[in-house]
């Protein structure tokens, strides 16, 4: 019998949607396997939890495990601790199969050294294929919540020189109750991490008001309180969370008024399979991710204040300046050709004035080229606002930013090739202040009605 009234139709559809949501919720709630739950039962309440979030080969993973165990031995001898190795059940780990208790017991690594007072548990996930970073983090957060861990950290086998004191530095401020989120700081080459320095950090600082340089890192620390809050958010099916959840976690902490800090770790050595050099992919995972976070947390920043300095533990991070071999000409050419070829797309994203300015600098000679900070900031804010209004497919929008970033990179390399690390820091700080200064422009664009550009 077909429904006669609009309300009945809508009502029955709503019921179906609700039931579907329940089924989905139940299915989501069972993302923890029985075997994992059984292992967690055996662990009980812990003070410290360290999660290994990604898949490495046997040698890198065993190095990571050793570093964690040594950290517990040296710095946390009395604390109850557990290592959650999300990818530990994989074949190339040689891990035992999930079935049977003897295998569960074997998964527990007990330290042979008498320096450790307590059993250090190792809980292993048992995914048939390596889980996405988001699923891995979700598993770690769930374990932290179930085990009521006080201080947690996430590390990756991709960091080849992960040291016990690094892990301790990530855990200690949280364990001592000083903060809820700890971001790392590294020694960088002055031209390394330009994306973070020219876009990710200053933009997130200006928008969210908290100064965390390394939003996209492989290791960070957090409290059990923060873990519980993040775990209960309904974001785990979103693509940005599945690929790079760490920035979202930092931004969630900032937006929810959790205490954040940074801790200096040292120089990081990355494995070849770590964060890639495919710039488009990096943009998708970081810039796209950041834009998504800005969109999803808009209620937190639209009325926000200027950024405030946060706590930093350890010495200030250094910038090194060894000689590098960079093809600046090629970068410039890619910028120029990219802006030219993408003109129709850019015209639908950028404000008229911004676009005109960019077209004017494209025509400059290479030796006279300069991408001014204020133009770059305005460009980025145009992009973010267009992302919010979805003027084009969002993935395409993020990709369209790559040539412009290349222009900024070229300008940066040329201007600061001979600059000292201190001068570079001053420039970075200036850029951050420019982002903050132009924040009202972003708000205006954000709230504006969309104009159609043909």
């Amino acid at each position: 019998m077909p429904p006669l009234f609009v309300d009945d139709v809508v009502g029955s559809f709503r019921i179906q949607q609700f039931e579907s949501e329940i089924s989905r919720a139940l299915a989501e709630n069972t993302f923890l396997t029985d075997d994992l739950l059984r292992q967690l039962m055996g662990v009980g309440e812990v003070d410290l939890l360290v999660g290994i979030s990604s898949h490495g080969d046997a040698s890198t993973t065993s190095h990571t495990l050793r570093a964690i165990e040594r950290s517990f031995q040296q710095y946390f001898t009395r604390q109850r601790a557990v290592i959650v190795d999300v990818c530990g059940g994989g074949k190339d780990e040689g891990g035992a199969a999930a079935a049977g208790l003897s295998n569960v017991a074997e998964k527990n690594v007990r330290l042979a050294e008498s320096a450790s007072l307590r059993t250090v548990h190792r809980v292993t996930g048992d995914f048939s294929a390596p889980p996405s970073p988001g699923m891995a983090l979700r598993t770690i957060l769930a374990a932290a919540d179930l085990l009521r861990a006080r201080a947690c950290a996430v590390v990756s086998p991709g960091t080849l020189n992960l040291a016990p004191d690094w892990i301790a530095n990530l855990l200690r401020p949280v364990y001592q109750g000083k903060v809820d989120f700890v971001a790392p700081l590294y020694t960088r080459h002055k031209f390394q991490g330009l994306l973070a320095r020219t876009l990710l950090y200053p933009m997130s600082r200006a928008i969210f008001g908290c100064r965390i340089r390394e939003l996209y890192s492989d290791e960070w620390g957090f409290s059990g309180r923060l873990a519980a809050v993040c775990l209960n958010q309904d974001v785990w099916h979103e693509e940005p969370i599945l690929t790079r959840p760490e920035a979202w976690m930092a931004i969630s902490a900032i937006s929810s008024d959790f205490r954040c800090c940074q801790v200096f770790l040292g120089q990081k050595l990355q494995s070849a399979t770590g964060s890639g050099t495919n710039i488009v992919e990096v943009f998708r995972q970081t810039v796209g991710n950041l834009f998504w976070c800005i969109e999803s947390h808009q209620s937190a920043w639209l009325d926000g204040e200027r950024s405030k300095p946060g706590q930093t533990f350890g010495p200030d991070p250094e910038l090194t300046s060894e000689p590098t071999d960079l093809n600046r000409h090629r970068i410039f050419e890619m910028f120029r050709s990219g802006v030219t070829e993408l003109e129709p797309i850019l015209s639908s994203i950028l404000d008229l004035e911004t676009h005109a300015e960019i077209k004017s600098i494209v025509s400059l000679e290479e030796n006279k080229f300069k991408f001014a900070s204020d133009l770059w900031v305005r460009t980025l804010y145009d992009f973010v606002a267009s992302y919010h209004h979805t003027v084009i497919n969002r993935d395409h929008l993020v990709q369209a930013l790559v040539p412009l970033y290349r222009g900024v990179t070229f300008s940066f390399l040329v201007e600061h090739f001979d600059s000292s690390p201190a001068e570079m820091e001053a420039v970075s700080e200036g850029l951050c202040l420019e982002f903050e200064r132009q924040k009202p422009y972003l708000k205006e664009r954000w709230k504006a009605k969309v104009e159609v550009k043909s």
Binding site: V10, F13, F191, T277, L326, T409, S454
Partner: protein, 233 residues
């Protein structure tokens, strides 16, 4: 003679009256059907709008780029467009049914053919629309990928993809509408085959150097030159 004329007039008048008497009820029924159709069309329009609102179709449409196309064409949003379409289609259908009730000779047959043709028209429009959307999306994807990879001719690549998909969409639309089916299929096959053969010949024989250089350039992009760009993270 006068009586004959009067009789004829009387008969003609009577026939007219009968015709009108015979026509009026059908006319009234037609009006009723049309009015009823209007009401049903409105109801369906609002139901569809509510349903599509729950499925967040507008958001999906924005992301797919379809909403932009609609805005360029000064169409309403996807939800509005679909709900208005269903309104007009439904009402038009009822109008046609109403007209068929009139019983005008020859009209019923035409109306019947029109009703049979209507779904194909709608599907054809849908195919064309989807084709345009896909062409737009994929060409832009290719353009961006080519630009960011440093490909020498990104626009050619992008337009090629757009052109191919347009050809495909138009061919499919015409085939759906049944317009010169054989001609369209043959023409499409010839064009597409020729295009592929041409590309094969160009890259395989006549364009060895070009193919080699393109490959080198492509491979160079992925290894040597990428190393000379600073690591973003």
């Amino acid at each position: 003679m006068r009586q004959t004329i009067l009789l004829s007039l009387e008969q003609a008048y009577s026939n007219l009256v009968h015709m009108i008497a015979d026509f009026l009820p059908r006319f009234l029924v037609m009006l009723i059907i049309i009015v009823l159709g209007l009401v049903v069309a409105f109801v369906l329009k609002y139901i569809l709008r509510a349903v599509l609102g729950l499925t967040k179709l507008d958001r999906v449409s924005e992301e797919a780029g379809a909403s932009r196309l609609l805005r360029i064409a000064h169409f309403p949003s996807m939800t509005g467009l679909l709900s208005r379409s269903i309104f007009w289609v439904t009402w038009f259908g009822f109008i046609l049914i109403g007209l068929s009730v009139l019983g005008v000779a020859g009209l019923q047959g035409q109306i019947s053919r029109l009703l049979q043709f209507l779904p194909e028209v709608l599907i054809g429009i849908l195919i064309l629309f989807l084709g345009l959307m896909t062409a737009n999306f994929l060409s832009r994807t290719a353009l961006l990928a080519a630009v960011n990879a440093g490909h020498p001719s990104p626009r050619i690549l992008s337009w090629s993809i757009r052109f191919v998909i347009w050809i495909l969409a138009i061919s499919m639309t015409l085939e759906e509408l049944g317009v010169a089916r054989q001609t369209v299929i043959s023409a499409f096959s010839i064009i597409f085959g020729a295009l592929m053969l041409g590309l094969a010949i160009a890259f395989g024989f006549g364009g060895q150097d070009l193919a080699r250089k393109s490959l080198e350039r492509y491979l160079g992009n992925t290894t040597k030159d990428k190393d000379k760009e600073p690591q973003p993270l």
